[in-house]
């Protein structure tokens, strides 16, 4: 197996997984900055199957976020092919299929917490009443009721990440992609956020891919993928 080609061998998950959620075949992504081509992701082949828990580690600028964005359908590969056989096609334009927790602020500034959580549901065509109920349930699940009517500018970074996770929970995706969800948080808050993320994934039965450069966070996930200079190098399964 060449470097960058990943296969999972967990017998339990293998039995559950029937079809990969995401399948990347020699996918690469190159950006052009100031006339210079920068390879963010070099040809990579991998699959994410239902129920997987993956820690995607690597130094800053190694291509972790780009790979997650490619998985989420938010970016287009420069070469190679990307498919979502277990998701019935690309997730882009289909709210709720993939839940993404972004590295930076990702809440709509003009909407309060409840509205932010309900937003993907409304975009997915869920009715206003149902969306509100599911948003309330997610708020209760994450115990952030006191934030419900606050605007993003009125809450802290950790609270914002919990709200982003609540948003994922409410939309019940089959694949959760979290890009450095604890990157801007203190250790304790980061621990809590990771706990919530794992519990959410368990509750939904969703696959979870978390990019992080925090070894403690990575250790809480069974599968370890490592990226370096755009290459997916190491496969570890704890």
């Amino acid at each position: 197996m060449s470097a960058g080609q990943i296969r999972t061998h967990d017998p339990i998950l293998d039995s559950i997984a029937t079809t990969p959620l995401v399948s990347a075949d020699a996918v690469s992504r190159t950006f052009t900055r100031g006339g210079i081509a920068v390879a963010a992701v070099r040809p990579t082949t991998c699959t994410v199957t239902p129920g997987m828990r993956v820690a995607l580690t690597g130094p800053s600028g190694s291509g972790k976020s780009t790979l997650l964005h490619l998985f989420a359908g938010l970016d287009t590969p420069t070469a190679g092919s990307l498919s979502w056989p277990g998701l019935d096609g690309p997730p882009q334009g289909r709210p709720g299929v993939v839940g993404t927790v972004f590295q930076g602020p990702s809440l709509v500034p003009a909407l309060d917490v409840v509205e932010n959580i309900a937003l993907p549901l409304l975009l997915a065509g869920v009715g206003e009443v149902d969306s509100a109920e599911r948003a309330d349930a997610a708020i209760r699940r994450l115990e952030i009721g006191e934030l419900a009517r606050r605007l993003p500018e009125e809450i802290s970074g950790g609270q914002a990440q919990r709200v982003a996770i609540a948003r994922v929970l409410a939309s019940r995706p089959r694949l959760i992609l979290a890009d450095e969800p604890t990157g801007q948080l203190d250790h304790l808050t980061g621990e809590r956020v990771m706990t919530v993320l794992l519990e959410t994934a368990d509750e939904l039965g969703a696959a979870l891919v978390v990019s992080t450069h925090d070894e403690q966070v990575a250790r809480r996930l069974p599968h370890h993928w490592r990226m370096d200079d755009g290459r997916l190098l190491v496969e570890e399964t704890s």
Partner: protein, 891 residues
Amino acid sequence: MITIWLHGLVRRRAGRLGVAAAGVAIAVALLASLGAFLASSQASMTARAVRDVTVDWQVQVQPGADPAAVLDTVRTTPGTQQAVPVGFGRADGLTATTGATTQTTGAAVVLGLPDTYRATFPGELRTLAGAARGVLLAQQTAANLGVAPGETITVNLPGGAATPLTVDGVVELPAANSLFQTVGAPAGSQPNAPPDNVVLLPEARWQDLYAPLTLATATPDGTHTQIHVARAHVLPADPASAFVQESGQARNLEAHSAGTAVVGDNLGAALDAARSDAAYARVLFVFLGLPGAVLAGLLTMAVAAAGAGRRRREQALARTRGVSTAQVLRLAAVEAGLVGLVGALLGLAAAAVVGWLAFGAVRFGATTASTVAWTAGSALVGLLIAAAAVLVPAYRDLRSATVVAARRTVASGPSRERAPWYARYGVDVLLLAGGGLLVWATTGTGYQLVLAPEGVPTISVSYWAFAGPALLWAGSGLLVWRLVEMSLRRRRLMGRAVRPAAGRLASTAAAMMARGRSPMARSIVLLGLALAFAVSTATFNATYQAQAEADARLTNGADVTVTESPGVRVGAETAAPIAAVPGVKAVEPLQHRFAYIGPDLQDLYGVRPDTITNVTGLQDSYFQGGSARALMSTLAAAPDSILVSAETVKDYQLLPGDLLNLRLQDTTTKQPVTVAFHYAGIVAEFPTAPKDSFFVANASYVAAKTGSGAVGAFLVDTGGHDVTGVAAQIRSRLGASASVTDIAHTRSTVGSSLTAVDLAGLTAIELGFALVLAAAAGGLVLFLGLTERRRTFAILTALGATRRQLRDLVTAEATVLTVGGLLAGAGVGWLLSQVLVAVLTGVFDPPPSTTSVPWLYLAGATVITLAGLGVATAGALRQGRRPPVAVLRDL
């Protein structure tokens, strides 16, 4: 660091800088264009005012004084170019025998003109028939006597002498009013009606005629000499200053002549009349020009405010990197300076182009000093706007945007639901109430915006009149802001309102607009004020044009008017040959008589009430006590009804239905006959009627009671087509027996006043800039607002929003902005139009009863605004096509 910052701004924030500079450029261009307009206007104001003065001074030699000495004095007076003596003699009457009939007129004036007179004062005489020199008869006199060139008349001089003269030509005296003025009469007593009969003789023949009389009686009644003077028109461009200089020189001559000469100062009179017009022109500049410049400034600030968030983040980043507050301010000042400088240069260039296109000049002032002042002033305003838009917010942020302040905001939470401070204190309502009161007070009885008493050198302008509209303007803007805020806060209502555009995302769209209601309200207010500016300016202009047309129609009477010379008796049957002229659609006879009410002699117009409106328009505002149609119906139904002036009603305490006995001349017996009328209504204006008191009655009734259906004038309708050509044909058919005038000529006369010319120039600029402002206020502000929320749209895309959903959200916002802006523009525009027309009522003649709405221009303004909004929406959606992660990474 400043260089690095500047370099970075130009490279990375070129769009932000460019848009802000464009806003500044609009303001500077508008101001400088107005400067160019004022330069063009002022440079020619005095010249235009004195253009139609035929004789500058008529210096009357006083009884006993030596005309030659006075002539010498006048010729040596500084500024005198030409001075010629003119003899004024009086005759008891004129007689002419044509065929078997002899016609005799009443008193006549005989003028003695030197040979050089026509060359020196070409506007005073116009040859209608025969020779240009020799014995000339005024047109009316020739008609009264029924003579033509080559025929003989007899001048009956005082004392019984009769002198036969062979007529060489017939002339028209276009400036008869000033020519026959009573020199030295008190101000306000002019003009006197010119004499009915005038004979013009060469100077030598006049001397032959009157020298014996002068020898016999030192000052025969009415016989005197005037020195007619052409002055060098080296006068200040401003008519007020020119008037002071000119009238001062006239008074100086009188002082030097030691009582031997009195100056009839026609030049001064023209300047006297023009200076209030000039003051109105300046007032119009303030009323119509200033709001546009203020609006452009507000637009720039709104444009700058759209990028305030990013600027604030950059500022905060700079401070975290150790940049001091003073350095941050300097960096903001650099950005403001750059925006102001580029905007000012662009604006001046645009104004130069506008000035060149509109006025054929690229100067921004009448003189070098004023050019420098306008250029510097406009550029300075641009820099100030840039400073207010960029530097002031930066300074405010430095003072208030602290972590403590942010925490306080978070802690206070619900404060974001509070209304703005001005709304809590009702500032908008107070401003509107104050503005309304001021407008009411300043437009009340006896109100005159510009007061320039005849002969008094000072002009007073009622500056309180400016305050009313200004307060209403500001109050309306704030009220719109309050209403928009209130509406946007009602999210359910807004959700329902935008559901057609936003569909399932209606509540989200309503929530987003509710939270962003402050910039949304600002955008709507700005768009509303820009449209209101367009509406009010265009409506004012259209109303002015409509009233100018009404004035021309009132003055001329109809498309073409044939006025019979006094003494010529023709009946309604004369209409037939006029109606036969190609192009004539209808001819309406109009009687013109004189009637005594008590001791007062007034004009009386006999009309055919059923058909008068076939040839001329009668506005309801011309009448009181009923509409034009109703009062004409009254005249038709009750032929002894009569319409009288308001002054007559007041003077004679008349009530509707009152009997009114007027004395008219019986055509057969030439004796006054009492005719009974019944007062039916008030007439203030009527086609061909004078400005003062007159009567309008049923022509058949007048004819029956006076034994004559003689007609004074024929009103001719050509359907508005080729009025000049039709008038020429009628003129050639009727010869010198009647005066034929057309509305095209009258329109050009009415439209050549200072106010008309200046208003046309001003509104040309205003209407153009109003369109630019409306398009910019709608499109630019929406685009920048949406651009500033690229992160929001990127997040939405990242969450799975489809392009259609993004389009729905943007469309919902654009719809609210469009509908809100259009409603605000229509409402505030209507209000300001009414106020402008009321406050500037002195500009209108006659005052309008209703405003005229220029629907075509307003439709164009709406289309341009919608196009601007459409382009902005499309541009914002185009930005949404970028991959969301790329946007999020860049922002």
